[in-house]
């Protein structure tokens, strides 16, 4: 894969290795190296309410469906450092769904999960996050959800009351719960077609009948084996709905 190759070469240079096999040797013999390398191999940039149109479509089109369920499970697959999770937690609180919802936030990168659980972001990112939140149709002020101090914004721990953080690999692990919504954005772009097929099969297994799947703005199910399992629910916003008899 082109992307992983690029990042492996970057890691090789960063760790002062002359070759990939030298890097391999370090990983095999130094326990701390795997975590350090993981940070190079996984991509961790995100924003709160990234692609506001996605969240607006969830508010306007998906939430009315979700309100008909007495309890909800939402899976943020590949949650990275938590931006997507907090976006969902805030949106669900605004829409009155939080109390009935359990969020699963999963990632393979332990360091990212720790950051997600801490919920601390650079204060200078808040301007963008606030604008995104507003464009997503936010009904409250984003500043209601964090406290600012020493150049950092710390998100309110009450947002994590309904969240389970967990180490989970879309490549090797199995389905762990029935869910009504899976959001997995800008994760599948790093997978080849075989891995994409496996991950989307997991989502299809996990989703209940007529459950929703959200992908990144430039991702599509069209080139996977599972395009027949889902209907396009909001095409532009990459929201899919699992078919009735899938």
């Amino acid at each position: 894969m082109a992307s992983i190759k690029r990042r492996l070469f970057q890691a090789r240079d960063h760790f002062g290795c002359r070759s990939i096999s030298m890097l391999q040797d370090m990983v095999l013999h130094d326990e701390t190296m795997l975590g350090a390398l993981m940070s190079y191999l996984t991509v961790q940039v995100s924003e709160l309410f990234r692609d506001p149109a996605y969240f607006r479509a969830i508010r306007e089109k998906v939430v009315p469906h979700l309100k008909t369920y007495p309890s909800l499970k939402v899976w943020i697959a590949g949650c990275s450092t938590g931006e997507e999770l907090y976006s969902f937690a805030i949106l669900f609180r605004e829409e009155g769904l939080e109390e009935r919802t359990l969020f699963y936030a999963t990632d393979i990168n332990q360091e990212s999960l720790r950051k997600a659980e801490a919920g601390v972001y650079d204060l200078d990112r808040m301007r963008l996050f606030t604008e995104n939140h507003r464009l997503s149709g936010g009904k409250t002020s984003l500043s209601d959800y964090y406290t600012a101090a020493y150049g950092a914004a710390t998100f309110d721990k009450s947002l994590r009351r309904h969240v389970v953080f967990s180490d989970h690999s879309l490549v090797t692990d199995a389905v762990f719960a029935e869910t009504q919504f899976v959001s997995c954005r800008n994760v599948l772009i790093y997978f080849n077609r075989d891995l994409q097929n496996r991950a989307v099969a997991l989502f299809a297994d996990s989703l209940s009948r007529k459950g929703f799947l959200g992908l990144g703005a430039k991702e599509t199910l069209r080139f996977t084996e599972h395009h027949d399992t889902f209907d396009e629910f909001a095409r532009e916003e990459r929201l899919y709905q699992k078919r009735e008899a899938a």
């Binding site: 894969m1 992307s3 990042r7 991509v43 692609d51 430039k218 080139f223």
Partner: protein, 189 residues
């Protein structure tokens, strides 16, 4: 695979790039080998480029989608805020990796991955720009036996990008903007 390598063209542009591309892309015939384009734009996520060029071009114009096969007769634009990459299976891959030269999409990233996939079948084209992105990428294209084409700095809206590419790639061909399309078509036979 046949002995003849698969062909493709990659184009990188920055400041003044839309006008420069308008002098090149419309001249390419509908059966031309695939063309992949990175142009630096503010990342406001509004993908207007494909729409802008669709009516002007005889080739099919699309915004690249992840995992799409790369087909002849098609121009692929990198979506704003994603790197555009080529897989060795001749499919498109997108990435959210960190910007290169403050740019995402980055010309270097497209050119380097495309050079890996297409080798001697690839032509890399550097157009106008006020940024050093693309020079290392074009060098990678030439190193894999591909062809390098640079817009002459005198005809560029911003000269830094073609000049940097020139200093990296002495083996590249330099042409004024109005002759670039003809030069591209020479290699398409």
């Amino acid at each position: 695979m046949s002995a003849r390598p698969r062909k493709a063209v990659v184009i990188g542009a920055s400041a003044g790039g839309v006008e420069a591309l308008s002098a090149v892309l419309p001249h390419l015939p509908p059966d031309h080998c695939p063309v992949l384009v990175v142009i630096h734009l503010p990342s406001n996520r509004q993908s207007v480029l494909a729409d802008l060029f669709r009516d002007k071009c005889r080739m099919k114009v699309v915004e690249a989608e992840d995992k799409a096969p790369i087909d002849a007769g098609t121009i692929y634009f990198a979506p704003p805020d994603y790197h555009l990459m080529v897989e060795t299976a001749f499919t498109v891959a997108l990435s959210n990796e960190a910007p290169v030269w403050f740019s995402r999409p980055s010309i270097d990233v497209l050119f380097e991955t495309a050079a890996d996939a297409y080798g001697p079948g690839l032509t890399g084209v550097i157009l106008t720009g006020a940024n050093e992105d693309g020079a290392a990428g074009l060098r990678a294209v030439l190193a894999q036996g591909g062809r390098g084409l640079i817009q002459s700095p005198e005809t560029a809206y911003a000269r830094l990008m073609p000049e940097t590419a020139l200093s990296f790639c002495s083996g590249a061909t330099v042409r004024p903007l109005e002759h670039l399309a003809a030069e591209l078509l020479k290699g398409a036979a």
